[in-house]
Every structure is written in C-alpha cells, then in structure tokens.
C-alpha cells in the first residue's frame, strides 16, 4: 500500500496524484490540514518529515519527502516508459527538468502561496523569477516543436512533463499570466488530454474531450 500525506490545494501533492492516476496506481490519501491548521509543522508530523513539507509518501519502510523522487518511484513501479528513453542524454535531460520543477515551485509556487494562503515574500520578485522560468520552458517547447516533438524529453510524455505541469498550470493563481506563452499553452492542453488525466481545484480537464451532457 502506498500512503500519501496530501493536501488538495498543493501543486506538489497534485503532481504525485496526477502521476499515480496516469499510471493507474492507487494511493491511500491521508489529508493533512496544511491551511489554516499548519498540521505539517506539528511535532508529530515532523517526526515523519523533519522538514515539515508536503507531500510525504510512505511505502513500508520507505519514506519519501521529495515529490520528484515519488514520480521516479511510481514510474519505476508501474510504467518505466515514463522515465524516458533511457539514453545517457535523455536520462540527464529528465533529471534537468525534475530540478527545474523545483525552480518553478520556488517562484510560481511561492507566488501562488503568497496570493492564496497568505505566505510572506517579495511577490514582485517571485513573479519576475516565475516569468524567467516560463520563458525557459517556452523556448524549450518551441525547439521541441521545430524538432517535431510534443514533450520535454523524447517523443512521449515522461515524469519531466508531469513534474513541471502543476505549478505552470496554476501560475495564474499567483498573478502570473500564461498569455505570452503559446507553446506552454499547447503543451498544457496535451498534458490535459492524456488518458486518465485527473483534475485539481484550479486545473480543469478539457471538457471537449467528452460528449456534451445529455439533456434531461
């Protein structure tokens, strides 16, 4: 059984829930009162994760506190093709994007927490850093288009795409618009078009992929 200590509005927690859903892996979710309860900072929770961050994944004796490591675990367990083609170049590129997703969390993610959950911080600097990261992503996806590829690494979606998607798709919650980034907009559509895609508050599915509801 895979237990995930989870908060529904957290981009990092959603990253793991999305990956599990795409792989068809069942998670046992344990809701943590992140806001306003700050239960992730309690003594009991820090016994599990001294850093006091979410999500935390527990599988028997294995305790993971980094969401990108959880993606690796889930993909290795249930869908190794999500780890990428496996060449030295592709494996390094996947790692590069996993680290990059940390920069998205430290800019777009904190801007969102500032605007939504009253975090303190230099909001203008966070938004500026967020735009710099989005420009990098936009350029990479533009070069993917020139090469005829739809995804960050190789020709199929990988954990790199899933790691970067949540904080990008939620950027408008932190006052960062995606209007200047057409390649990101199309990539976001592709992620949301994946079979078994799941939503979170702020990231809706593509309604057009299902038939219109029948009239009563």
């Amino acid at each position: 059984m895979i237990r995930l200590h989870d908060y529904v509005l957290s981009a990092s927690c959603y990253k793991v829930r999305l990956m599990a859903a795409l792989l068809g892996v069942r998670l046992d979710l344990e809701a943590v009162d992140f806001h306003p309860g700050r239960a992730h900072k309690s003594l009991a929770f820090r016994q599990l994760n001294p850093a006091g961050t979410l999500p935390v994944m527990v599988v028997d004796d294995l305790v993971l506190t980094e969401s990108t490591a959880m993606l690796v675990y889930l993909a290795r367990l249930a869908g190794p093709e999500w780890l990428g083609p496996g060449t030295p170049q592709a494996s390094a590129q996947v790692q590069q994007w996993l680290a990059f997703s940390g920069r998205l969390a430290a800019s777009l993610g904190l801007a969102r927490l500032h605007d939504m959950l009253l975090y303190t911080g230099d909001i203008e600097a966070l938004r500026r850093d967020g735009h710099l990261a989005l420009r990098e992503l936009e350029s990479a996806l533009t070069e993917c288009r020139f090469a005829g590829h739809d995804w960050l690494v190789g020709t199929a979606p990988t954990i790199a795409d899933i790691a970067c998607f949540p904080n990008v798709a939620l950027s408008q919650d932190g006052g960062v618009t995606l209007d200047p980034y057409p390649a990101i907009r199309l990539w976001s559509r592709r992620v949301r078009s994946l079979d078994r895609f799941v939503e979170m508050p702020g990231i809706h599915r593509l309604h057009e992929l299902r038939p219109a509801p029948a009239e009563a």
Binding site: T142, E143, R145, F146, A183, H207
Partner: protein, 208 residues
C-alpha cells in the same frame, strides 16, 4: 487609434478545436478555431456573466463559456443555454465579433468592416511568438538593421549568414509581443535563439 489589421498570433499556435486570448489594441478578444478549422474572434466577454470566453472550450463548431456553458456558434449567436434546454435563445444574445483572417501563417485581427486585406508577407515563414517587457524604440536601438513601426523588417547576421527577419508588432499593456517570421531557407532554431538574444540585450539596456 487608427483602424488597421494587427497580428495576434501564428497559425500553428491555434490548432483546430482550440481557443486563445488575443488582443486588438486595448480590446481583449477570444480567438478560436472550430473542429473543421473555421476561425472566429469576439470580445473576450460572455454576454451572460462577463466571463472570459478565451477560458471556454470548443466542441465541434461551437464555443462554450466555461462558467455556465452557454454555447455560441461561429457567427457569435448564442445557440444553447444548458439551464434552459427547451429555450431557443433570442438573436439579441450575441458575442461581439471582430474580423479575423489568416494569411501566410499569421492570424490578423481588425474591427468588422475593414476594406483592405491584411499585409501580404511573401517568401517568409512563421517562427515563433515572443513577448518583451521593453518598448519598440529600445529594440530598434539594439539592432539598427531593423526598421519599421507595425511591421519591423531587416536583414541581420544569424549563424554566419544574412537572413531576412520580419517582426509583426502587437502592443501589450507592459511591453510588446512579436510574431516573428524569417526567410524560408533560414534555420528556425538559429532564428529563435537570435530572437532571445535580442530580447535579452534590449531588456538589459532598459534595466541598466
């Protein structure tokens, strides 16, 4: 403000069955393409509750508002209101239309009733759309080989070759957006990286 065509995007960034936010001068628009490829552009405001229609979704030949699902046809008329399924919506419920045409891989917008066609761009192919936080004068100062106002053109040195560059200017509230094209033989990857270098130089000049 003069009435003219303004580029709002490149064709490859609006596939069939998709909607995006566009702009004509200060007017925000929803630009969308139906499942069969028919283009339409309207003010970015649902006549019902004012929600941005660019947040909506395309199903077949209609665009639906994300808020209450009101369905509009490519002519802008409301076709269906889910909360009143038996009602035929009155003709007065209509999104406010703009002219939207596609030429040379570029999406152009103008108010309805423009007499002339959009500018013709021969022997050029679209590269990418790029937004900058500086003004046009700074760009032209950084790259003196470029000139123009709505359509910036010039021959610049990229990867050891002289390449024809064309930048279609879309003014934005906090800067400008370029829809960039280049000569057909140019290497688009090199041109894309050259554009990023131009942006970096211009923005750093403003910051200095």
């Amino acid at each position: 403000m003069t009435t003219r065509w303004i580029a709002t995007g490149l064709s490859h960034d609006l596939p069939n069955g998709a909607v995006m936010a566009g702009q004509w001068q200060a007017t925000e628009l929803a630009v969308w393409r139906s499942a069969t490829g028919k283009l339409a552009a309207w003010k970015d405001r649902c006549p019902h509750r004012g929600m941005r229609l660019s947040h909506g979704f395309v199903r077949g030949e209609t665009l639906s508002c994300i808020y209450h699902g009101w369905v509009y046809g490519t002519d802008g008329g409301c076709k269906h209101i889910p909360a009143h399924p038996a009602l035929t919506p009155p003709a007065a419920i209509c999104a406010e239309g703009f002219a939207c045409v596609e030429a040379n891989g570029v999406l152009w917008l103008a108010p309805v009733g423009m007499a002339e066609d959009p500018p013709r761009l021969v022997d050029l192919r679209p590269v990418r759309t790029l937004s900058l936080t500086c003004d046009l004068a700074t760009i032209l100062g950084v790259e003196p080989a470029l000139g123009g106002s709505d359509i910036i053109r010039g021959s610049v040195r990229i990867g050891g070759q002289d390449e024809e560059i064309c930048l279609l200017v879309q003014p934005r509230p906090n800067g400008i957006t370029f829809h960039a094209l280049c000569s057909a033989r140019a290497d688009v990857v090199q041109v894309s990286r050259w554009l990023e270098a131009l942006r970096r130089s211009a923005e750093e000049k403003v910051a200095a």
